[in-house]
Every structure is written in C-alpha cells, then in structure tokens.
Amino acid sequence: MRGRRRMPSVLLLVGIVAIFALAMVLGSTRADDSGETFVGSDSAATAQIEQDNPGYKPWFTPVFSPSSGEVESGLFALQAAAGAGVLGYVIGVMRGRRRAEAAAVVRPDAA
C-alpha cells in the first residue's frame, strides 16, 4: 500500500460502510405492504407481476427448492464462502509467487 494514490484504501472502506449505514437508516423506514423491510428486489418484482397479472401462472417450478429460509440463506452463505475461499487462495498463491520471484532476484546479489 505504498506510493501516492488518489484515495487511500481505508477511505474506500469507510465509504462502503457509510453507504450501508445510510441505506440501513433510510431503508428501515420503508416497509412493504406486509410490514417487512429489506425484502429482496427480485421477490418484489415477482410480487409486482403477480399483483398486476393475477391471471399469470408460472409454467415451470424450480427443480429443487430449499425447504426453508434458513436452508436457503445457508446455501447462499455457502456460495459466498466458496467464492471468497477461492479468491483468497488465488491472491495468496500469487503473493507467494511474487515473493519467490523477488527472493530469486535478490539472492545472487547477496551472495
């Protein structure tokens, strides 16, 4: 994290957190019809379709459906964990590769 950069990474992180804090505060005042807040926009769109087109019947059902909200969020968490794991592994391997290269360059000079 050396050098002159336009905006320090810490500031970017602060910005991310600030946007969430703002979203949580502003958003929590807006409940939908069922009184629930922060419902998924995907399900909001589905609800809108059902409301405006009462005659529409989904003509295909999911092959497999998580049996409860808990199972569903668990599977989502699994997806995120798998992605984060691979991402972390890749960054770690590449960092190690750079260190090894740097060491290989330095050693002849030191000897």
Binding site: R2, G3, R4, R5, R6, S9, L12, G15, I16, I19, F20, L22, A23, M24, L26, G27, S28, R30, A31, D32, T37, F38, V39, G40, S41, D42, A45, T46, Q48, I49, D52, N53, Y56, P58, W59, F60, T61, P62, V63, F64, L75, F76, A77, Q79, A80, A82, G83, A84, G85, V86, L87, V90, I91, V93, M94, R97, R98, A102, V105, V106
Partner: protein
C-alpha cells in the same frame, strides 16, 4: 436481477435463451482459449469467477427499503473481456437456479443476457471510455464495476416490461415500474460494488502485476514491484 423460475412467458423465455446462447457458447470457447494460450492467467481467471460468485450471493440492504445483490461481472470483463464473463456469469446463474431456486432454468437465458452479457459489455465499454477520456485506471475500474451492475438490473426491468406490459401505459410504463423496483435500489449497491472492485483491483495490482501486464491491463513501463521509491500512476 434474477427473474424467478417460470415467470417469463414461454415465448419470451425461449427468445432470451436463443439470444443468449451464442454469447455463452462463444464465451465458453473464449475461456478455453484463454487457459490454453495464456496459462499463467489461470489463477486470475479463477479470481474473476470467484468474485462474481461471492458478490452475486450477497444480498445487501439499500435506501429503498429493499435489498439486492451486486453482480461482480465488471472486473472479469475488464481483465478478460466480456465474452469470458458471458460464460462464467452463466455458470454462476446455473448454480443458483439449480441449488438455490434463485432464478431458474426457463429464465436462465434472460438472466444470463442481463447479468452475463449486457452487464459485462456495458462495464467494459465504460472502462474503455473512461480510460480514453483520461480518467485513470482506478476510475475506469470503478465505472466498469458499477455500471455493469446497474446495466444488469436495467436490462432485467426491460425484459419484465416486455413480458408484462402495463394495460394502460404499455411496455414503457411497465419498464418504468420495474425500473423503480430494481434500478433505484441498485444505485447505492452499484457504488459499493465499484468501491469494492477498486479495492480488489489494488490488491491484484500488487500481487498480479506480470499477469495484468500480459493481459494488457497494466503497461510494462513501470518499475519492478520491489522498488519502493516509485509507483504507478
């Protein structure tokens, strides 16, 4: 942006599948070619796929009182060009359709079209445009990430508007209605995604310099990474 299983009329579902298929097949070949011709970028390719995998799993709250998820396709589009993301994004969508009942097989074509095709292309276009206008690499990456995200949700709104036109205001009215559900919610999330993208890009710039140079993202005129006195612009 996931249109639920069965929630597009059969004709629309089929049309979007036909429209998306060539991009995805071409993307699959692009991935194979990338791995074969440029094997040292294999790890970065994994990183791009993993990034989409993580981000599209995380639903975040937004100012509208609903929550939504980023797409994470912009980074891969910048690093590997959009066709690669057409394939990787579709793999993510297929996983979610099969295991999470999120999205669906009948709507896979439409969802792939928005998240894996339009998003990456818009992101890549923004990246090139901002770069040409002299915006600098980080601003370009920010634009790519956030606009790929936003464009995906706008495409979904358009797809739903076409499928379910409003009885009074027609397709345009319906598109506006779905945009009000998706796009407004997505704006803060797109900004967050852009910031996260810049953070990850900074890490990659430190650890993957030779790979990024071989991909043409960084120019090979910088000092060696071990030189602490100078840094890239």
């Amino acid at each position: 942006m996931h249109i639920a299983e069965g929630f597009l009329p059969p004709v629309h579902a089929a049309a979007w599948t036909v429209a998306a298929a060539p991009f995805v097949i071409h993307g699959g070949r692009a991935v194979v070619r990338q791995v074969r011709d440029n094997p040292q970028t294999k790890l970065l390719l994994g990183a791009a796929g993993a990034f989409t995998f993580v981000l599209s799993a995380i639903k975040l709250p937004s100012v509208t009182g609903s929550s939504s998820h980023p797409t994470g396709t912009g980074l891969g589009a910048v690093l590997f060009r959009p066709p690669v993301m057409a394939f990787l994004g579709t793999v993510v969508l297929l996983f979610q359709a099969l295991l999470l009942a999120h999205g669906g097989l009948t709507t896979l074509g439409a969802n792939a079209f928005s998240m894996a095709i339009v998003g990456p292309w818009v992101g890549y276009g923004a990246y090139r445009l901002v770069g040409r206008l002299g915006g600098g690499l980080e601003v370009s990456v920010f634009a790519a990430m956030s606009l790929a995200d936003l464009a995906t949700y706008c495409t979904t709104s358009m797809q739903l508007g076409l499928a379910f036109p409003d009885p009074e205001t027609g397709v345009a009215g319906a598109v506006a209605k779905f945009l009000s559900i998706f796009a407004v919610t997505q704006i803060p999330l797109a900004i967050v995604e852009g910031l996260v993208g810049v953070l990850l890009f900074r890490i990659l710039r430190d650890v993957a310099r030779p790979e990024l140079i071989s991909l043409g993202v960084l120019k090979d005129e910088q000092p060696a990474p071990s030189d602490p006195t100078r840094t890239e612009a």
